[in-house]
């Protein structure tokens, strides 16, 4: 069993890796809030994440946990109030003009809703080629563009003849493929996928997941994969970060987090997710949380999960929980969680 120790570090990947060159993406202490005074909504509160090239980070959490705000920060659509975002050591928020435009190429996004994210008045070819209208030098001449659009279409499993059709002629899964092709048009290093399959039917969802993993192995693109569906995250991610009310409360290698969750919230989340196994009589083992997620306008003191936690004690209301680090024996990120009373491996559930 891995040893546990309590440190003052925050959960998240260690920055002091043996390799000197900076990771593809490194987010440190990012805080973002909206509004002011009493109507101040804290969307992100000191979030740390890190991601290497060609890897996938799963971001799990329920509504209001800040994952969508984090996605917008990663894409430079929102500027954080505090903290740093670095891509290969470069802060995109310090870039201007041409440098900013060049940085934009490296990070792209696939949206949750394949209907709202595609302009219904543009054909598939126009949609996929849209980024080139801003980044004119990527594929300069019209012939090459057409060829590239055909390549992208076949890369995501659509037919070349689909180029001239409009979004309303495609199914949800096909639209999501168009969205993926569009994200690939600029050859990005990182694609932020915001619930890319949750609007899709199950049989189609598997197809899109396969497209995403195939693209990763072929093009070496990294993903930040945001989802509330644990089985999808478990399948696609190398590492998993669990968020609750704007804070990362657990992080680690996928199998560590899923097999040996430390934070009660992570355990409850996994227990609440229904599973296919009909023989598992859930009700007896299921961890039922009290109530619903508190409003992000009014975050509980101390540990933000204490209002729903069955292990909470007085201390949880007064003291912010420390980071508990469970070292791994093999390679990979340490398994960390923010909790006063972390779960022992294989104790509270399963």
């Amino acid at each position: 069993m891995p040893e546990s120790r309590t440190t003052t570090a925050t959960p998240g990947p260690r920055a002091d890796g043996p390799d000197a060159h900076p990771p593809l993406l490194e987010v440190r202490g990012v805080t973002k809030s909206f509004g002011s005074g009493r109507r101040r909504l804290t969307a992100l509160d000191g979030v740390d994440i890190q991601l290497g090239r060609g890897q996938t980070l799963g971001l799990v959490g329920e509504s209001g946990c800040g994952k969508s705000t984090l996605a917008r920060v990663l894409l430079g659509l929102e500027r954080p109030d505090a903290g740093t975002v670095r891509y290969d050591g470069v802060d995109p928020f310090a870039l201007r003009g041409k440098d900013l435009l060049n940085w934009r190429r490296r990070v792209q996004m696939v949206f949750q809703d394949p209907f709202a994210s595609l302009n219904a008045r543009m054909s598939a070819a126009d949609l996929i080629g849209e980024p080139w209208r801003t980044h004119r030098d990527v594929v300069p001449d019209a012939k090459a563009r057409e060829k590239r659009i055909r390549e992208l279409l076949s890369l995501v499993g659509l037919r070349e003849s689909d180029a001239h059709r409009y979004p309303n002629e495609f199914s949800g899964g096909q639209r999501q493929r168009i969205g993926i092709a569009r994200a690939l048009a600029l050859d990005p290093d990182l694609i932020v996928c915001d619930e890319p399959v949750s609007a899709l039917d199950l049989s189609v969802q598997a197809q899109v997941l396969n497209v995403l993993s195939e693209l990763q192995s072929r093009l070496g693109v990294a993903y930040v994969f945001i989802s509330h569906d644990l089985s999808v995250v478990r399948y696609i991610s190398d590492r998993v970060t669990v968020m609750y009310l704007g804070k990362v409360i657990e992080h680690g290698e996928t199998e560590d987090v899923f097999d040996r969750p430390q934070h009660p919230y992570t355990a409850a989340l996994m227990s609440a997710a229904p599973v296919l196994d009909t023989s598992r009589a859930t009700d007896d083992q299921e961890i039922q949380l009290k109530g619903e997620i508190p409003s992000p306008f009014d975050i509980p003191s101390g540990c933000r999960f204490r209002t729903r936690c069955w292990r909470a004690e007085d201390r949880c209301a007064t003291e912010a929980p420390p980071a508990v680090v469970r070292e791994r024996e093999g390679a990979g990120d340490a398994h960390t969680a923010l909790c006063h009373f972390p779960l022992e491996a294989r104790s509270a559930w399963a």
Partner: protein
């Protein structure tokens, strides 16, 4: 005689019996069959899941059962029997008498299913005023009781609040309170937890189960979520392109599917899939209703397809032990 005075069904006869239901949809390009000969029945205390992807006709089946079909759609055949009578052959007035005391429905979107400009207490009390002739005050009293039952904190104060002042989970509880107000024989739940967070979803599912046990209701659960079916239902009806492709007890169907579509769905769940290995996805997407082939509805995506499937549509035939499947070659699946 009124329908509601008929005796409640006993434990052995079905509380809801749908037979050969057909629904046509009048569209731009002509009349299309959206639901084609769907049959199922459910007894009190049991849960039947209608499982399928969007557009398979599961919601339309549910809406036909409760008589809330869109005007563009029309029931063209079959029977929906409750308490021994066919609701499809009833007058609108007779049907209205069933809505609440016999049949009720919980919708997916609790925000739009509640009237935004009326306090929730009054809305929940509404069924009592309509069917039991209670006064407004008595009805609101009942509403507070129900709100307590479905776990709304401080129900007496909250009864005066408006729907937007509740969280998603609480709104779904309100909707459930309204649906079970008159102790229906059959509760139809149309994707009741799809819009909710996982931890809240679990709470709502538990509430539904408790209410079902307590009131001995038959529940028809309409969903696209295989895991919800696995955990919650006794029997399952798998629908595809408007038809039933397989049915039977959930445990049996999920452990050894006899229709390649069911098998494909089960395989697509990434739950036990190994990272890096492609998921065994079902290729293609479901057919447009206007292009449902004459033979087997699943032929275009089926790994077992052969000439016979193109020629002849397989009927839903019994495969023993209370199960049936609409596949010419279901035995091959069993072996595989």
């Amino acid at each position: 005689m009124t329908t509601t005075s008929a005796p409640a069904p006993s434990a052995t006869e079905p509380a809801l019996d749908v037979e050969g239901l057909c629904v046509d949809l009048n569209t731009a390009s002509g009349t299309l069959r959206a639901v084609d000969g769907v049959s199922f029945s459910v007894r009190r205390g049991r849960t039947l899941a209608l499982l399928g992807e969007s557009g398979c006709g599961k919601s339309m089946t549910a809406l036909s059962v409760v008589g809330l079909l869109d005007p563009a759609a029309e029931v063209t055949g079959g029977a929906v029997r409750v308490r021994g009578k066919d609701t499809l052959r009833m007058s609108a007035a007779e049907r209205r008498k069933l809505a609440g005391p016999v049949l009720s429905i919980v919708f997916q979107d609790a925000l739009t299913a509640l009237n935004p400009v009326q306090p929730v207490g009054r809305q929940i009390g509404e069924p009592f005023r309509i069917h039991r002739g209670l006064s407004r005050r008595q009805a609101e009293e009942k509403a507070v009781e129900l709100m307590t039952r479905v776990g709304i904190p401080e129900p007496r104060q909250r009864a005066k609040s408006y729907p937007h002042q509740f969280s998603g989970g609480m709104r779904q509880r309100l909707l459930i309170a309204m649906a079970v107000a008159l102790d229906p024989d059959v509760l139809i739940a149309d994707e009741p937890t799809t819009a909710l967070d996982v931890t809240v979803q679990a709470q709502i599912m538990r509430l539904l189960r408790d209410l079902q046990d307590e009131r001995d209701m038959a529940v028809v659960l309409i969903t696209h979520d295989l895991a919800v079916v696995a955990q919650r239902a006794d029997d399952v009806v798998v629908m595809y392109a408007g038809t039933v492709v397989e049915n039977g007890p959930v445990h049996d169907v999920f452990s050894s599917p006899r229709h390649p579509y069911t098998r494909g769905l089960l395989d697509s769940v990434p739950e036990d899939a190994e990272r890096g290995r492609p998921l065994p996805a079902v290729p293609g997407s479901p057919p447009e209703l206007s292009a449902v082939p004459p033979g087997c509805v699943f032929q275009a995506r089926c790994p077992l397809v052969r000439e016979r499937c193109v020629r002849e549509r397989p009927s839903l035939r019994s495969t023993g032990d209370g199960r049936s499947a609409a596949c010419h070659f279901s035995e091959e699946l069993d072996r595989a």
